[in-house]
Symmetry: C2
């Protein structure tokens, strides 16, 4: 009996002994989840070697099985000619999605090497944002004119069975004049109907539709409110242009919340894999860090203004980073809840006051607890009640400030059309740092006589 | 012509003038996305008043249209009898999901008021984790014994059309002895087959299945690798127990990444809506903050050990929070990328060394840039090159430390079965704070003569 081989060793072997057929068969048989990991482990030139060896159709199958960000990285690496050959084998919305992730000139180089019709369609689709109905919809759906009979539909289904293999056929669309959507036909109704019946009589007329410009949030709400597997997409003239599926909307939501998380942590653009070029990764991270360091220096200038106070009671220096850090933590909790509530649609950007009231309540409780803890720690450590009072009061007040800002800033940013994921954190920590440093040092200056006596 | 009313005012009106039918009709006609928002704005007692007024079926429709976390909050508020009546109207996996979100005694109180069969099924389903196939699968699917003919299937479809309305019928399952799954029948094949044909001859035998214990990551990989809309779920004896759908897996992934983000920001359990009880919100946030404050005090004790150095060069106190903050930022970027790569399956928990090498490279570049910036700022501010050297070198070295720890800690935690989302941040900042404070203050102590000369 043959021993199961480590897939990594086997891949190395297959790369060294170019045999496209064996490689394709082996890739096809890989357990689910293995491909993304193996590709990430490969050196850049080996990845290219792998793809170039494969038949475009097999390569497209591989591209389909890995996360989009990784797939875009692979496509980017290839010659435009090879990339175009692979893209042509993908579904239209996958094409558009990958092209949308490339730099403009690279995408154009690939498009110019694709078939004319396909390039035109891909260009049109890639004009849509990835997160609107036009960018999420598939073009692989069935539509028949109103005057067709059940028999005519069945005949077409049978004649084109191979072509329709990857189509979503739970629903079939019925179109009227100028391609306008007039109804939806359920496959199950087709099953039971007599062959001579016109599909106009079977269809559900005036079905629910979405515009091609509908946003991801709107689509989520539509699928939350209705149980459908897919909803037809129409353009500004009511013409049927695609089908947006529940699974694709759910997947786009997952992708968006992953990108949003990455952005809150300072990954600009919400996309980084370690297979990306080093300089690009470093540059993107730096673009956010360098704004942050300037904000940090501004915040720390508050400390600089109180050097005398600090020199007189050097123990205060211990509490400055603690208050800065803890306020950041408390505030970021509130930021996270606000971002989530915005995503779920349970709060609107105009409702900052409602959020503020709710956060102040949490802030008061948590501020008292955290302030109490730090006050006791300071008092015990230096045997000075005044130091405990200063550190504790500053912590308590600043906790309320932090949750208030953390809760409301994402709503305000969203309201003014800015990206709350990327900007909330830096704004929050700059304000809470300044405020926290000021509170500690100003209170210390006021209680100086009690602080230095001890 | 009637003016369109503000939904909020209309809701208030409907609550004051109890008219269950009018309320139900109005709820049904609400635009998608409106319901979650209106419910979140209502006072707690008004929410209860609303639900109690509604027919259980209408209330279930409403529960179905709002996010699960919000729905669980609503159910929790109701008397067990009323809650049971609503739950009975939901699909089995929705029931199990909501029950799984409640406290054990509350869930039991509701289950004991449900129908016997339904309660038994709900108990069995709620024993599965939410994020495994058994917890995600629907029970509403069609299955027929092998010996059925096409005509028999069609007859059953017609006879039970109303009951099957919400069923997923793209695939029909075929079962053999003892309920074991033997094949899958495509609706489209059924359409075209002669009525006397046995379904055994039409079915695709030995279909792809997943075990009821398959994890979300495994399911994601299966759907990434195959284009199916749904995959049958079997138990340990190969018996068909449910159907897991692509859309539900994608939605569970979205939910998981949202929870994961909340956890990285210190929302324990990954769930908080501002409609939850104040004390529960505050307690959950505090449980994480209070661990953090202890870690912060430990880290700051490094500063306490260098009070003399600090007293001699008070300007250093300005740089301590900057280095602490910036190292946190750099490290959290690396944490975010690692969590994402783990989710996508492009990195395995055992590959910390590969991640380390990749992060050190980024850290060296970013460390030099950020260190350079802070060195110049310090030099210009105090006119002291040595201060610039100390602050800059500490920042540069600590950036490398931060990205190294940030990149690898999530993998190590995952490898030892801990939750990297919740624990990575606190571990990261504690180590980088200690290391950063030590670097600044120890280097300052060594260069003291140069620092105080200026």
């Amino acid at each position: 009996m043959e021993q199961p081989r480590d897939p990594w060793d086997r891949l190395q072997e297959l790369l060294d002994r170019p045999d496209a057929a064996a490689l394709a068969a082996w890739l096809e048989a890989l357990p689910p989840g293995e491909a993304p990991h193996l590709l990430a482990r490969l050196r850049e030139d080996d990845r290219e070697r792998l793809l170039v060896q494969l038949d475009p159709q097999v390569a497209a199958g591989l591209v389909d099985r890995i996360p989009d960000a990784q797939a875009a990285g692979l496509i980017e690496q290839l010659e435009p000619q090879a990339a175009a050959a692979i893209l042509q084998e993908l579904q239209s919305h996958e094409q558009a999605d990958l092209l949308g992730r490339l730099e403009r000139p690279e995408a154009e180089a690939i498009l110019s090497r694709m078939g004319e019709d396909e390039a035109r369609l891909a260009r049109r689709l890639s004009r849509y944002d990835n997160d609107v109905a036009g960018g999420l919809m598939v073009r692989e759906f069935l539509a028949y004119p109103e005057h067709y009979t059940v028999a005519q539909v069945n005949q077409d289904l049978r004649a084109n069975a191979a072509r329709y293999r990857d189509y979503q056929v739970q629903y079939t669309f019925v179109t009227g004049k100028r391609g306008r959507l007039s109804g939806v036909l359920r496959m199950r109704d087709l099953v039971m109907a007599p062959p001579e019946r016109s599909i106009r009589d079977l269809m559900i007329p005036d079905p629910l539709t979405v515009r091609d410009t509908a946003t991801l949030d709107e689509l989520r709400a539509v699928f939350e409110a209705h149980g459908f597997f897919g909803v037809p997409v129409v353009d500004d003239r009511g013409r049927l242009v695609g089908l947006v599926q529940r699974a694709d909307v759910a997947q786009a939501s997952a992708g968006r919340s992953e990108r949003e998380y990455l952005k809150t942590q300072g990954i600009v653009g919400g996309e980084e894999l370690r297979t990306m070029p080093l300089l690009r990764r470093s540059r993107r991270r730096l673009s956010w860090l360098s704004i942050n360091i300037v904000l940090n220096i501004i915040a720390a200038s508050v400390i600089a203004a109180y050097q005398e106070t600090l020199a007189a009671v050097i123990a205060l220096a211990v509490f400055l980073p603690i208050i800065s850090d803890m306020s950041g933590c408390s505030g970021n909790q509130a930021v996270a809840v606000s971002l989530r509530e915005l995503t779920l649609g349970v709060v609107r950007p105009t409702e900052a006051l409602r959020v503020l009231a709710s956060e102040v309540a949490v802030g008061l409780i948590n501020g008292v607890v955290l302030g109490g803890l730090i006050a006791v720690a300071a008092w015990v450590w230096q045997g000075n009640a005044a130091l405990g009072l200063v550190a504790g009061a500053a912590m308590a007040i600043n906790t309320v400030v932090a949750v208030s800002i953390g809760g409301t800033v994402p709503l305000v940013l969203r309201r003014f059309g800015m990206d709350p994921a990327l900007a909330s954190g830096p704004i929050l920590t700059t304000i809470t740092d300044m405020c926290g440093f000021f509170l500690v040092l100003q209170m210390a200056a006021m209680l100086m006589s009690r602080l230095v006596v001890a």
